[in-house]
């Protein structure tokens, strides 16, 4: 009974052919879509598998605590781990306040003004800046004042800020937008000034979302290589001062171990993979924790 439903001729004709044929087309196309999806995920699983299986052997105590030993190679990536932490921290110190304040401007103060429209537009433009261009910008900025040979951790952080600020603004704007207006109005009704309303009502309500956004933004920039290659340089020893001397993060370390391997080539490649594994672990943990924070601590908004 059910299979013999009559198809209205109007639809059957342009769709082409008999019911049997149309069902076949449906099956085939669905199959193709599923196939494309599987195809798209093969690189992900291959990559994760390869990074884990090639990275684990090199990921030992020496890798985490040692520093490179001259031309022979060997040693570890402690300097790169320290560099990653310092560069990422300085970048966040620059980007998070600017990003969140700009998002507050967009949602709370901007109204429909011209600055608001320009800002929204240019934040979109900013998300499209290639990372290497951000690096060149930071280099040009510092080179003009401090000479062309300059390489600093701070330069890297400025470059990464160009990439991180728009991400922070976008995510913060999203969560500030969904803070319901009646909360703000209730606060105004009690005579609270606008800025106290923002600090005491709007921001706490959106807090979990803001934290999540910042963590995802950090995950996005923690593995950047290209902008640091032209700003922080390559170095072999631990440097904790972003205002002086070269610095290196894990991604640049992985690149330099691949690019200029020591005498024992394979050992260098192993360390490059170990650095890649460490990076992926950091990125995944940041992403997962960010999601958990949001689920666990977000304010229920009705």
């Amino acid at each position: 009974m059910q299979t013999s439903v009559d198809i209205p001729p109007l639809l059957a004709a342009p769709a082409g052919g008999s019911l049997w044929r149309r069902k076949l087309v449906n099956r085939v196309m669905t199959g193709l879509v599923v196939l494309a999806f599987v195809l798209a995920l093969i690189p992900l699983f291959s990559l994760l598998y390869q990074v884990v299986s090639r990275g684990l052997p090199g990921l030992d105590w020496e890798f985490l605590t040692g520093t490179p030993r001259g031309v022979v190679g060997g040693g570890g990536a402690a300097h790169a781990i320290v560099g990653t932490v310092v560069i990422t921290a300085v970048t966040s110190i620059i980007s998070v306040p600017i990003g969140i304040m700009a998002a507050i401007y967009l949602t709370e103060y901007g109204g429909k003004g011209r600055l608001r429209r320009w800002l929204t537009f240019f934040v979109d433009v900013m998300t499209g800046i290639p990372s290497i261009v951000a690096g060149l910008f930071a280099f040009a900025l510092f080179a003009i004042f401090l000479g062309p040979g300059i390489r600093l951790g701070l330069m890297g952080s400025v470059a990464l800020s160009v990439l991180m600020i728009p991400i922070v603004i976008r995510s913060s704007e999203e969560v500030l937008k969904i803070v319901p207006n009646h909360l703000r109005e209730a606060s105004y009704a009690l005579g609270t000034p606008k800025w106290r309303t923002i600090v005491k009502v709007v921001l706490p309500t959106a807090f979990a979302g803001l934290v999540t956004g910042v963590m995802i933004a950090v995950a996005r920039i923690v593995g950047e290589t290209a902008p640091l290659l032209v700003t922080t340089g390559i170095v072999d020893s631990i440097n904790t001062n972003p205002f002086q001397g070269r610095m290196q993060n894990l991604a640049v370390y992985a690149y330099s171990e691949y690019r200029t391997p020591g005498v024992m080539k394979q050992a260098s490649y192993d360390r490059a993979w170990a650095a890649a594994l460490t990076l992926i672990a950091i990125v995944m943990i940041l992403n997962l924790v960010a999601r958990l924070v949001y689920r666990r601590y977000r304010t229920e908004i009705r």
């Binding site: 304040m101 290497i132 040009a140 105004y188 000034p193 593995g223 990125v283």
Partner: protein
């Protein structure tokens, strides 16, 4: 006790909060943050321009390779556009299918997990893609490259001789395609899932199969999102650095041959390769090429944004 300037403030805001000293400080801070960002973006263009001027004025003999600035950048720009275009051609059909699968075909229960997996592709650092491309995908692709040379060698793209290491334009573009796929599919998914239910259910009620429903409602509705998503992906592929730097074996020539050992470099990869060892005018030349890359991606992104905003208005 008159209220501070009430001009242009909505009645609610004027009646509600009172503007105090703290208010002024805070709102000025917020405006300052906004202006900083505009300044930053202007600064990117300005400082790149200042630092590339010496290269523009220099004679060809002083520049790397002894060529004029245009002759230096043109092959790189060609390589950049070629790699990104192939990447987009590979990525877009897959991305549309992925978006369709997640928005209309996959069971509801697993949609969140599948979306997370696709987003994960975007979270992986480009240096890791580079290592994967040269150590895993490249060697694995060699037999395919040889097959392409033998069977399709008459097409200019596959003329060969096939590379024995896999460090070719085709492999580099393939990795770029994987990297931009999540962005393209995210833009498409967003719009596909907003297809009016009325249209979809109407099509199904008239007896359309699911594919016919998708073809007649979802795809036409999401057409501009496919275009704008592709252009955002193109912008990303144009500027992607590390994967190309590591994978591609470059020789600075201009060729459409995608499977041989000799390939044109891209602007971004060339900067990453040469910048650390450059000094003097060579640095200015590289920055000038970076400025060109900035301009290309800017135009691409502006076009994409224009399409998106027009679609939002409709």
């Amino acid at each position: 006790m008159e209220p501070a300037d009430a001009t242009g403030v909505s009645p609610l805001a004027a009646a509600g909060p009172r503007r105090r000293f703290g208010d002024r400080v805070f709102s000025n801070l917020a405006v300052a943050a906004g202006v900083t960002i505009l300044g930053l973006l202007g600064g990117v263009a300005l400082f790149l321009l200042i630092e590339s001027l010496p290269a523009v004025g220099a004679s060809p003999a002083q520049l790397p390779g002894g060529k004029s600035l245009v002759d230096y950048i043109a092959p790189l720009a060609f390589g950049t556009v070629l790699a990104a275009t192939i990447a987009v051609l590979i990525a877009v059909p897959l991305a549309v299918a992925v978006a369709l699968f997640i928005s209309h075909i996959a069971p509801r229960r697993v949609v969140l997990v599948l979306g997370f997996l696709v987003d994960l592709l975007a979270a992986i650092p480009s240096i890791v893609y580079g290592l994967w491309g040269i150590f895993v995908l490249g060697p694995a692709a060699v037999p395919v490259l040889e097959w392409l040379e033998q069977k399709l060698g008459f097409i200019v793209f596959f003329k060969g001789p096939a590379s024995a290491t896999g460090r070719t334009m085709l492999v580099a573009s393939l990795v770029l395609a994987v990297m931009i796929l999540p962005i393209v599919s995210a833009v498409c998914r967003e719009v596909f899932s907003q297809t009016p239910r009325k249209l979809q259910e109407g099509a199904l009620a008239l007896g359309a199969t699911r594919w016919e429903m998708i073809r007649m409602t979802v795809l036409p509705f999401g057409k501009s999102s496919i275009i704008s998503g592709s252009m955002l992906g193109l912008g990303r592929a144009l500027g992607e650095t590390m994967a190309v730097t590591i994978i591609l074996s470059v020789s600075g020539i201009v060729t459409f041959n995608l499977i041989s050992q000799a390939n044109p470099s891209t602007i971004a990869a060339n900067i990453a390769l040469d910048f650390p060892e450059s000094s003097g005018l060579a640095v200015n030349t590289l920055i000038a090429s970076g400025l060109v890359l900035f301009a290309i991606t800017l135009v691409t992104n502006l076009a994409a944004r224009a399409i998106i905003s027009r679609q939002n208005i409709q």
